[in-house]
């Protein structure tokens, strides 16, 4: 696993290798039980993540978006406010051996 930016940053880019179970454990480290996360997927089947991450509350939005900029658009922001989601995870296959997770933290005003 490679962490390309320091923890605590507003935007964090993580590359995950290995199987789904390891991905889940790695992601789980960042959150506390009961926190709400919006998982924005693209070409992934995220159901197992929900199993391992529970009781972290995972919402799913299949964005079909190809870039973080597209994901940051208003629909997600609005949704984050409605569901009181604190983080957004973008979970996409990066290449054959890595998955890429982009993590955004919500500010008080609901923008990134």
């Amino acid at each position: 696993m490679y962490d390309y930016s320091p923890p605590g940053g507003r935007e964090q880019r993580i590359f995950l290798s290995g199987r789904e179970y390891l991905h889940s454990l790695y992601i789980k480290n960042y959150f506390n039980p009961g926190q709400r996360i919006l998982l924005v997927g693209n070409q992934v089947d995220p159901f197992f993540l929900n199993y391992y991450l529970y009781p972290i509350r995972l919402y799913y939005y299949d964005s079909r978006a190809l870039s973080p900029e597209e994901i940051k658009k208003s629909y997600v922001k609005k949704w984050m406010r409605q569901k009181k989601v604190e983080y957004i995870l973008v979970y996409t296959p990066f290449d054959e051996s890595f998955y890429q997770v982009l993590m955004f933290q919500d500010r008080k005003n609901g923008t990134y």
Binding site: Y21, P46, F47, R57, Y60, Y61, K83
Partner: protein
């Protein structure tokens, strides 16, 4: 400590089972030997406690440790109170235990070498399942995303009216699956005091062992010990049932349980057809309730058994047909009473409707999709006849047995089980015709799992077909 907690959870099932057993079966020799009773007590207890917890949950009682632990104790006290005039009979239970002579050397000495080998092979299969259970985590997609996830929610939240079930944006596929299996698993996780996705699957193996015991004792009515053990081994070693992966017994999928309880439904229905005693059809009804509440496919099992019974009723013109129909209506009524809450709950969920085929189950859809039949039958052919790693010689043995014993086709129990078998295959075919998904993709992942529902029933059918040729000298 873990062992004590696990044992405690199994005692909870046994206490509930004893209550049901005491209600249905009298304490005499007509209700089977010690092992048969113990197996039935476990099966009835597993399902009975889970159904009751589901009903409590349905009425918004939080399923916490107190509720789960106290309920079977109330059952125990209730049994003693109801049967207080027959308390002497409880002493008979001890006598039955003593007479069972379970650890006697002489008992084993009576067995021939071949019988011992067959028995050891069956034990080995069960031990292999225990080994899978302890060694392997949940591996399959459905086992985690569908079944274990529901268990996890129920373990932490104690209710199925939470946001995790009702909110459409939460990731929760097949949210409307029945909840008996997850509820039965929280009895174990609550006893352990933590969520454990290995140990919570323990009942899968114990149910398998119990059903093997029931199956053996059922066959003992027709055969001498050697053949009964042989056919039990045939059922125990169905490769697909034994695989730890996709759909196998310890994989965490519900399909293995549907298959095993379908066999129980058939066994007790056949006993009722032969002996006409209400206790058998009530037991069959209880197993039907469990099967339907484990997975919706149980409705197909019930439908095929009902249709098969009606055909047999027409063909054999039972002398006491009015009594038979009356008992059959009680059977259906009992099942309906218990599955109505599950259906009400399922329809109350506004989410996940697109994942199910029920809305498509209508004549126009069937007519439009009839062109799928060719592909379905080709897939059946490759699954039943070519997929040796999944089924071994099971289906070939069925074909051979049917041809070789064709004179027995119209014997009551053979016809009943055979028709139920083929009607269920018909039910599967109709479901495949209306399924909203891509059929080839669906078959690649799920056909073997669904065909497995028929495999234990197939073993039963095979064993019934050979009765005349391998007759039990004791019963004859």
């Amino acid at each position: 400590m873990v062992l004590i907690r696990i044992l405690y959870s199994q005692v909870l099932f046994l206490l509930t089972g004893s209550f049901l057993e005491a209600l249905i079966f009298p304490m005499d020799n007509t209700s089977g030997n010690f092992w048969q009773r113990l197996s039935r007590v476990y099966l009835l207890g597993w399902g009975g406690l889970s159904v009751l917890l589901f009903l409590l949950g349905f009425f918004r009682v939080i399923l916490n440790a107190q509720v789960i632990f106290l309920l079977p104790l109330f059952f125990c006290l209730g049994t003693l109170f109801l049967k207080r005039k027959k308390l002497k009979q409880i002493a008979k239970l001890a006598e039955l235990f003593r007479r069972a002579n379970i650890w006697s050397r002489n008992l084993i000495k009576q067995w021939s070498f071949l019988e011992k080998i067959l028995f050891l092979a069956i034990l080995l299969v069960i031990l292999l399942q225990f080994q899978y259970l302890i060694r392997l985590p949940l591996l399959g997609f459905d086992s985690r995303a569908h079944w274990a996830f529901k268990t996890k929610i129920l373990h932490y939240e104690g209710t199925f009216y939470s946001e995790s079930f009702y909110e459409s944006e939460r990731i929760h596929p097949q949210v409307r699956h029945p909840l008996l299996l997850p509820i039965s698993q929280i009895v174990i996780t609550k006893s352990l005091g933590r969520y454990d996705d290995r140990l919570m699957r323990l009942p899968f193996v114990l149910i398998f062992a119990s059903i093997l015991c029931l199956f053996y004792n059922e066959l003992k009515r027709y055969y001498k010990r050697l053949f009964a053990l042989g056919f039990t081994l045939l059922m125990a070693t169905i490769p697909k049932l034994n695989t730890p992966g996709d759909g196998g017994l310890t994989s965490g999928y519900a399909d293995a349980l549907v298959a095993l309880f379908f066999l129980c439904m058939l066994i007790y229905f056949v006993q009722w057809l032969q002996k006409g005693e209400m206790k058998y059809i009530i037991t069959s009804a209880l197993f039907s309730i469990f099967t339907i509440l484990i997975k919706d496919d149980g409705i197909g099992c019930l439908g095929s058994i009902s249709l098969s019974f009606l055909v047999c009723l027409f063909l054999f013109r039972f002398r006491n047909w009015k009594r038979k129909i009356g008992a059959f209506l009680i059977f259906l009524f009992l099942i309906t009473v218990f599955i109505i809450p599950a259906r009400i709950y399922s329809y109350s969920l506004s989410v996940g409707k697109g994942e199910y085929f029920e809305p498509l189950l209508n004549i126009p859809t069937i007519r439009n999709n009839l062109n799928r039949l060719g592909m379905i039958f080709l897939s059946y052919k490759s699954e039943f006849l070519m997929n040796i790693p999944h089924w071994g010689i099971l289906w070939y043995f069925l074909i051979f047995s049917m041809i070789y014993n064709s004179k027995r086709w119209f014997v009551q129990e053979v016809l009943f089980v055979g028709l139920a078998f083929f009607f269920y295959l018909g039910v599967l075919t109709v479901i495949f015709i209306v399924l909203p998904w891509n059929l080839s993709q669906f078959f690649a992942g799920s056909l073997a799992r669904l065909v497995m529902h028929l495999a234990p029933a197939c073993s039963y059918l095979i064993s019934l077909l050979w009765v005349n040729r391998l007759k039990n000298p004791i019963s004859s």
